[in-house]
């Protein structure tokens, strides 16, 4: 029997606002955030019969409580999907939603699925990183990982050590840029269309949450320079040049290009390829370097073919380690043109799809851009990269 690999398209992506841990979503449930995002995807794509969804994958880093119970399945039921639609849960720490997308996409490429729903959530108010974990004592006894490996801020300080040229001042300047780009994107109305407002009950009554809580457009270099360095005395990593602790969820609709055309779904971008790669856990932030090299090599592309970069800003230093490696300027307009996680936040397992939605927007605004990538560093020392092609590509500039 002849087999052929099929093209995968990113049809749509939405997210809830990203709020600060202890903020507006403190009394919301994580599963509800996913459910409301799924329902928005269905409403925005009325050409899709819900029963045509072949699988649902939802990512969360801490899969207990309202992030447990096989979220891909339970959120599907709660969202009103027909019981014929299956679902499962995914965990690859910060790259959970990215992995949900790549895993489902692999299924589409192989012909096992035609249409799939991906999602990610992290409610860090309810589930602080590391909740309920029980690390094997061998990690320490046999020095399998550095003791810093589980404290992400320390891994970021370690990157500053490795690359002394990445100074605190550069990191702060990058962080301020993220805030400015986010503010500009909001002002231009680029972000709002993909945000699902969420009604949240609380002891003060119901409220409607429509905007991100993280952005600080008033950020200045002076302000940033005075912040505490909680991970090390006289260190470089601060709350200002890192993403925060956040609550939020994302959802994306994927389909084979064939099926998308048949159903009349809009296509935003086409998957070119993807790769994940590992690095030493104590410098997990450099993960996007090897994963991007691997993804480019497998796709037969080089870094110069990439017109747009959506890189997760877990820490400014980790973005700069990536751009330095590939010879990209700190203020290169191809990198995170709509801002990034330092401003909007990083609810761990949800962020991968947020990057993809941003890239889809970047592509829409730049029809001369052909290829773009979404990449992120991952706790325990990994990186993930997905390369996409702009369906709106209108030929070289």
């Amino acid at each position: 029997m002849g087999r052929s690999v099929r093209e995968v398209v990113f049809v749509d992506g939405v997210r809830t606002p990203f709020t600060k841990a202890g903020g507006a979503f403190a009394s919301a449930r994580a599963d509800d955030l996913v459910v409301k995002s799924f329902r928005e995807i269905l409403r925005r794509n009325p050409a899709l019969p819900p029963a045509a969804i072949d699988d649902v994958a939802v990512a969360a880093t801490t899969q207990i409580g309202d992030q447990g119970l096989t979220l891909g399945r339970s959120a599907g039921i709660l969202a009103g999907l027909p019981s014929s639609v299956p679902g499962y849960s995914v965990d690859r720490m910060c790259a959970g939603a990215m992995t949900a997308v790549t895993t489902l996409s692999a299924g589409i490429m192989a012909g096992a699925l035609d249409v799939a729903l991906a999602g990610g959530v992290e409610h860090m108010t309810r589930h602080p990183m590391g909740e309920g974990i029980d690390p094997n004592p061998r990690f320490v006894a046999e020095k399998l990982v550095d003791t810093d490996a589980l404290v992400m801020g320390k891994t970021a300080e370690n990157i500053h050590d490795r690359y002394p040229k990445i100074t605190k001042e550069r990191a702060d300047r990058y962080a301020m840029g993220s805030q400015r780009k986010t503010a500009a994107a909001y002002a231009a109305g680029h972000l709002q269309p993909d945000i699902v407002p969420i009604a949240v009950p609380s002891v003060d009554g119901w409220s409607l949450v429509s905007v991100d809580e993280g952005p600080r457009p008033e950020t200045t270099l002076e302000g940033l320079s005075g912040l505490k360095t909680p991970f090390r005395p006289h260190g470089r990593v601060t709350a200002g040049n890192s993403s925060g602790l956040n609550d939020g969820a994302t959802a994306a609709l994927l389909a084979s290009e064939e099926k998308a055309d048949e159903l009349g779904l809009t296509k935003k971008m086409r998957m070119v390829g993807y790769a994940f790669a590992g690095v030493a856990p104590e410098i997990m932030g450099v993960g996007p370097v090897p994963s991007t090299e691997k993804a480019l090599q497998r796709a037969g592309l080089s870094i110069s073919d990439i017109d747009l970069f959506e890189i997760n800003e877990a820490f400014a230093v980790q973005v700069l380690a990536f751009t330095d490696h590939f010879g990209i300027d700190d203020e290169d307009p191809r990198v995170n043109p709509l801002g990034g996680a330092i401003a909007v936040g990083h609810p761990l397992a949800s962020s991968g799809i947020r990057l993809m939605s941003y890239l889809a927007k970047d592509f829409e605004m730049n029809p001369s851009a052909r290829y773009g990538l979404t990449t992120m560093c991952i706790g325990l020392g990994m990186g993930g990269t997905v390369i996409w092609e702009n369906v709106n590509y209108a030929g070289a500039k």
Binding site: L78, P197, S207, L208
Partner: protein, 696 residues
């Protein structure tokens, strides 16, 4: 009253949040109603709650940067109306008037703001809960809202916080009356969200998963003009005629006996031409009149009996003593037995075995159950998997040895002591020593039935009402030797069957049939003495019974009713009357005294009239009624003195649930106290003033 007796109000707080609506429609101030308890304690409005609501409205009224005000409830509950326990404490008409005014004064502000108001009905909205939504300019309703109603008339009052005025003006008198009268008087039927949309009460419906988000988006669209809300102008031309038709229907059913439906109808009639001020004032007056009536106090008492006492039966032994029931046996395969088999299989989901004298009867009984199950599937009320499960659970044999491993066997054979004793003796030879032996007898002595057994302690009376699937009451009769484990098991089974159980001591005909038989005897006796059939049968109309005595006779069947009257006469020859005319009626095979006419009415069957040999001392309706009420007062007092039940409340609960006697009578003892029969016959009341009547 000491302060400790005043129930503390569970205060519903009104909290304001302000946020931007989607579509850049502007800012909304949303008021959330929440009593800070979970959904099992729905939010209600008491005086303190209304004060907080007013404060919240003051707050939003002072805002000049909002484009709309929203109103919603805590998760799963919008609001379920007035705090009824507070209503029962009101002692003066001025206080009653103040309750109505306080609600109006707060609620109406939501309809009189400078900006539009939106009620987002996210869950149950009953009574005042629905009324506050009616005051708002627009309403969205969750398709998951479990209960939507104006149940006031069911409770003996009227929708007095704006509902009786606003609803007819919103949806017209026909649809308003469906909600205010028809639903309330049909066992407090609730609207489904789709009904609320159809009637025009809901402007839009949204699914529960993101109800508030979609409601707010909808509100934004209304505010920006993207959505236009269409409302049909009520037809004023037909208004009076519709009221007239409704009045005729009320008269046919209640003959003017219940105040609240008539007061509600008057308010709907007046809503046509009254201003808001006049309409709300009329509601205040009507509500105050009704609150200050014994009928409303009796209704609240009845409501409490059904809501509370029915769920925690007085005198029942410790639940922990109940033994598990994993298999049920039913002796008999007739209609009653078959109905029991279906009920036990559906509710307990354990094997149910029926037996009868020959295979043909057994097959008929089992066939009936299987067919009923199949019908449920056809009607879409049961899945085929469930039907397969239940069908497999119900079987029948002629050999009672099939009961060997049963934990609970109930007999439903012919109503004869000797027959039942023989059945129990036969059962005891087969079943374990602890298997419960229950009887569905309606009038025989359970103690006598158990007397010849080795283990009489396991026998209990388990008396259902016809039709068993529908009637909520189960009288659990404790015989002389019944032990606690047996009675506890009977209560556990009754609860699993979803029946309201009342503990009665083993006495002839227990509670419901004893009172009904005594009462029917008095009516029959009046006819035998020469009272006109119609006069006698209509004599009880002021009590608004669900059916007249002779219609009840037809429902029970003259043969069964006569048989019970003979049994009761044998037990209490001085008080229970056996009518020779009734014997003739039974012998004639006639189904009753009334005969249906072709036009849906009924006339006294002339052939029955001819059968009766009657005296020449006719009574007036008032005389018949007095005799009947005196007899009821006498019998109820004797039952209490004999210890058949432990309190008048249990008699009343039995009559409400077993005979459908109205809430407004409080079952029966509050009515007997109110009309003077208790004092006249027994020299004392059943209940102290204030319990089911106005305080002294």
């Amino acid at each position: 009253m000491s302060e400790s007796e005043i129930p503390t109000e569970v205060v519903t707080h009104a909290r304001v949040r302000v946020f931007k609506l989607p579509l850049q429609a502007g800012r909304m101030a949303l008021i959330t109603l929440d009593n800070d308890l979970d959904h099992t304690r729905p939010t209600t409005f008491g005086m303190q709650g209304l004060i907080e609501l007013n404060e919240a409205i003051d707050q939003v009224q002072a805002m000049d940067d909002i484009v709309a005000v929203g109103l919603t409830g805590k998760p799963f509950i919008f609001a379920v109306g007035a705090d009824l326990s507070a209503m029962a404490m009101i002692t003066t008409r001025d206080e009653a008037l103040a309750v109505g005014r306080a609600g109006h004064d707060a609620f109406r502000r939501l309809g009189e703001l400078a900006v539009p108001s939106f009620a987002f009905v996210n869950g149950a909205a009953m009574g005042g809960g629905l009324e506050i939504a009616l005051h708002c300019t627009y309403r969205t309703v969750s398709t998951g809202a479990a209960a939507l109603s104006l149940p006031e008339v069911f409770l003996g009052i009227i929708p007095g916080w704006g509902g009786a005025y606003l609803l007819p003006n919103l949806v017209g008198p026909i649809d308003a009356l469906e909600v205010i009268l028809t639903n309330a008087l049909t066992m407090n039927k609730q609207m489904k969200p789709a009904d609320a949309k159809r009637l025009g009460i809901a402007d839009a419906l949204f699914e529960p998963a993101d109800f508030l988000e979609q409601s707010m988006l909808w509100a934004a669209k209304v505010l920006t003009g993207e959505v236009k809300v269409k409302r049909q102008e009520p037809n004023h031309g037909m208004w009076d005629m519709i009221i007239g038709g409704a009045k005729a229907q009320l008269d046919a059913r209640f003959h003017g006996a219940l105040a609240s439906p008539y007061r509600a109808l008057d308010l709907v009639a007046g809503a046509k031409s009254r201003t808001r001020d006049e309409g709300f004032a009329a509601e205040d007056e009507a509500l105050a009149d009704l609150i200050m009536s014994d009928a409303v106090r009796a209704s609240l008492y009845s409501f409490n009996l059904v809501q509370k006492r029915a769920k925690r039966p007085a005198g029942a032994p410790d639940k922990a003593l109940a033994r598990p029931v994993t298999k049920v046996g039913i002796v008999g395969a007739g209609l009653m037995a078959s109905q029991l088999a279906l009920l036990f299989a559906r509710r307990l989901e354990v094997p149910v075995v029926m037996t009868d004298l020959d295979q043909a009867r057994v097959d008929k009984g089992v066939g009936y159950v299987h067919k009923e199950i199949a019908t449920l599937v056809e009607k879409g009320r049961m899945s085929s998997d469930k039907a397969n499960r239940l069908t497999a659970l119900v079987s029948g044999v002629t050999d009672k040895s099939a009961f060997a491993d049963a934990d609970f066997v109930i007999e439903a054979v012919f109503e004869d002591l000797g027959v039942k004793q023989a059945v129990f003796a036969e059962l005891e030879a087969v079943v374990s020593d602890t298997c419960i032996l229950a009887t569905n007898t309606s009038s025989l002595s359970v103690t006598a039935m158990a007397s010849g057994l080795k283990h009489p302690e396991r026998v209990v009376g388990f008396h259902f009402f016809n039709p068993v699937a529908v009637m909520p009451l189960l009288e659990i009769a404790r015989a002389k030797q019944s032990d606690d484990a047996t009675v506890a098991t009977a209560f556990a089974v009754g609860k699993a069957l979803k029946k309201s159980c009342v503990l009665v001591q083993d006495a002839p005909a227990f509670v419901v049939n004893r009172l009904l038989t005594r009462f029917l005897g008095e009516i029959t006796k009046a006819v035998d003495e020469g009272t006109d059939f119609t006069v006698a049968d209509e004599a009880m109309q002021p009590l608004a019974f669900p059916m007249s005595p002779f219609n009840l006779l037809a429902l029970v069947g003259p043969a069964v009713a006569f048989h019970v009257s003979e049994t009761m006469h044998a037990a209490f020859p001085d008080r229970f009357y056996v009518s020779e005319n009734m014997r003739k009626l039974v012998e004639s095979g006639k189904p009753g005294i009334w005969k249906k006419t072709g036009t849906g009415g009924q006339v006294i069957d002339p052939e029955v009239e001819a059968l009766f040999v009657r005296g020449s001392s006719p009574l007036t309706a008032a005389q018949v009624r007095e005799r009947a009420l005196d007899a009821l007062a006498d019998e109820a007092r004797l039952m209490l003195d004999e210890g058949v039940v432990i309190a008048p409340e249990d008699i009343d609960l039995c009559m409400i649930l077993g005979a459908g006697w109205p809430f407004a009578n409080g079952g029966i003892t509050p009515y007997l106290d109110r009309c003077g029969a208790s004092e006249r016959v027994n020299g004392k009341r059943f209940l102290a003033p204030g319990i089911a009547s106005l305080p002294a």
